[in-house]
């Protein structure tokens, strides 16, 4: 990378970080009790009236921190998957991990009648189980991107069926709760959920950062990467484990929010113009994207909040169609 290209990555990352912070502040300022941005900042730094302090620190800040962390974790997971399978379609949504984490959450709701902790635990455990299953099916003995995507789509299909079946077995109250969770929502998220997603991000980001260059070289192919001194098996397994854990933690905190993992790394790449997994820019862009989607979800229809998953679904689905149309056009040339 030339000095100018490196500068562009740093500049884009800084701009994305600023954007994420500004969107977070805007998100905190709005709601049934609007506040000015200066008031928000003052309250965050310990000032403000007791009422402001309660609303900001106990009600709105946890939700925004959850949004930032979930968005960052999903985007980072997506960047890892896309790099590992060398394909922009490699994302937990397409590969069955999102459906897998939903199965665990649904089992917790429908079969065990559990609360939010049980749902979170169920979705994490089943996401890890799905990850292990897909690894064994597709990756044993050196995997290829296409095989993983095809196996993932198959697994996703099976799990979608299982999920639908679980919903038909649920009573109406549980089913409504489950559907809301399945859409992905940030409503009423407290410090507990923020800690799950934020903790995973804080713990795993350093691990992932160390792998960044090895992953970029793995994209050249297994043999060239080995020739350059990359421990292909270890790097791939570590990256996959980090991606699964990040996606699982995000899902535990907010439900299976769709499309952030798919779109954020692609958008980040277009902004930086850099090759490789673009880990840090993806993380920051995902954080800004999900927090922004949550602001839209809260304010698009005044007096009627949407689950954030609906907004990311609409935005991300549209983007996916665009991506596929462009790929098809290029393939025809």
């Amino acid at each position: 990378m030339t000095a100018r290209a490196r500068l562009r990555v740093v500049g884009v990352s800084a701009a994305l970080a600023v954007a994420a912070i500004v969107i977070a502040l805007v998100s905190i300022s709005g709601g049934d009790y609007p506040m000015s941005l200066p008031d928000v900042v003052r309250t965050l730094f310990g000032g403000g009236s007791p009422a402001d302090a309660f609303i900001v620190r106990e009600l709105r800040l946890p939700r925004v921190v959850t949004a930032l962390a979930v968005g960052g974790a999903l985007a980072l997971a997506g960047a890892l998957f896309q790099s590992l399978v060398r394909n922009p379609l490699g994302s937990p949504d397409v590969l069955g991990f999102t459906q897998g984490s939903a199965t665990g959450g649904l089992l917790a709701v429908v079969v065990l009648g559990g609360g939010s902790t049980a749902v979170a635990a169920g979705s994490v455990l089943s996401a890890i189980a799905t990850g292990a299953a897909i690894y064994l099916l597709a990756w044993r003995g050196g995997g290829h991107g296409h095989r993983l995507i095809l196996v993932g789509i198959g697994v996703a299909g099976i799990l979608t069926g299982v999920n639908s079946y679980l919903l038909t077995r649920a009573n109406i109250v549980d089913a409504a709760r489950a559907v809301l969770w399945l859409t992905g929502s940030l409503d009423g998220r407290g410090w507990g959920q923020a800690a799950v997603a934020g903790g995973a991000l804080v713990l795993l980001t350093p691990v992932v950062a160390v792998l960044g260059r090895a992953l970029a070289n793995l994209e050249l192919g297994d043999d060239p990467a080995r020739g350059l001194g990359v421990n292909v098996g270890a790097v791939r397994l570590t990256a996959l484990a980090c991606a699964v854990l990040l996606a699982a933690a995000a899902s535990a905190a907010a439900g299976p929010v769709l499309f952030v993992a798919l779109t954020a790394p692609q958008l980040a790449r277009r902004l930086t113009g850099a090759t490789g997994p673009n880990l840090l820019p993806s993380l920051l862009l995902g954080a800004a994207l999900l927090t922004g989607a949550d602001v839209l979800a809260q304010r698009l229809f005044p007096g009627h909040q949407l689950p954030v998953g609906v907004v990311t679904g609409l935005l991300g689905g549209g983007y996916l169609v665009l991506l596929l149309a462009r790929t098809a056009r290029r393939a025809r040339v």
Binding site: M1, R213, A216, N217, G221, D222, G227, L228, G229
Partner: protein, 277 residues
């Protein structure tokens, strides 16, 4: 003093299939070694095992007297570079970016770009004459240019040993010669030890200082091209009846296949019996 790179009693293969058994090879230090042989004779498999890319089922590859499998991958990659057959250039990567990937084994996971890195990349691009292409996208280059860029990436590793797996395949004759001239220059002027798998016997005979002929996972002959490229040996290795004459250009061995049934009309009185349909 034994050679730096040696394979000892190697058994090589993939999953259930064994390609070679009890195969031993010495790469003479300072040589331009070329491995030839028919398709599926195990030459690329052997090269991949020497490069630590394929783990032998039995036996050892020794680099500087130590088993290559027990040494850290990055340490090996500072001594030995591999031009692989299966390399894929990521979408939208520039020449300079791809060549700089060769610095991976010299850098820490988070270290910044050093002057030594910059010098190595510049030199590698100069040596392969791709400097004018530095800002170009790799997927927009011609086959010959792209192969030079991949070689530049391996050169940026600054390794005394270079292993090249079919570096000239899919290239036209001019570009094949360009690549081999480049290899010969690296060998002569920069003192690199090279090991290449090649298909063209005549080019192999022109450029190799040490030639290894393989068939069915075994080494049938090795030595100077003049020793190895004989009519008898070529018939044994490739099952190809041929004549070997001095190359009028270089004096090295030139392999001329005997004419067959549908060859254009040849010299009258050809002694070789035509294959009956």
């Amino acid at each position: 003093m034994s050679d730096r790179l040696r394979g000892i009693d190697l058994t090589l293969g993939y999953d259930g299939r064994t390609v070679a058994e009890d195969l031993s090879i010495d790469i003479p230090d300072g040589s331009f070694t070329v491995i030839v042989g028919p398709n599926a004779c195990g030459k690329s498999t052997l090269l991949r095992s020497l490069a630590r890319v394929l783990k032998p089922k039995a036996g050892h590859v020794l680099l500087d007297g130590r088993d290559i499998a027990t040494r850290p991958a990055r340490e090996v990659a500072r001594t030995l570079g591999l031009l692989a057959q299966t390399a894929v250039a990521p979408d939208g990567i520039t020449v300079a970016d791809l060549v700089s990937r060769g610095r991976y084994p010299h850098r820490g996971p988070l270290s910044t770009w050093s002057d030594a890195d910059e010098r190595a990349v510049r030199w590698a691009m100069e040596a392969t004459a791709v400097t004018p292409l530095a800002g170009a996208f790799v997927d927009e280059l011609s086959g010959g240019q792209r192969q030079r860029v991949w070689i530049a990436m391996v050169l940026a590793q600054e390794t005394p040993l270079l292993l090249l797996d079919e570096p000239t395949t899919y290239l036209d004759i001019t570009h094949q010669l360009d690549i081999l001239e480049l290899c010969a220059r690296l060998h002569r002027e920069h003192g690199r030890t090279l090991v290449a798998v090649l298909h063209d016997l005549n080019l192999a005979a022109r450029y190799a200082t040490h030639l290894v002929a393989m068939r069915d996972g075994r080494i049938l002959a090795e030595g100077t091209p003049a020793e190895v490229v004989t009519e008898a040996m070529m018939e044994e290795v490739f099952a190809l009846p041929c004549r070997v004459i001095p190359d009028p250009e270089t004096g090295t061995a030139l392999v001329i296949p005997r004419r067959r049934l549908y060859s254009a009309a040849g010299v009258e009185g050809d002694e070789y019996p035509r294959t009956q349909p």
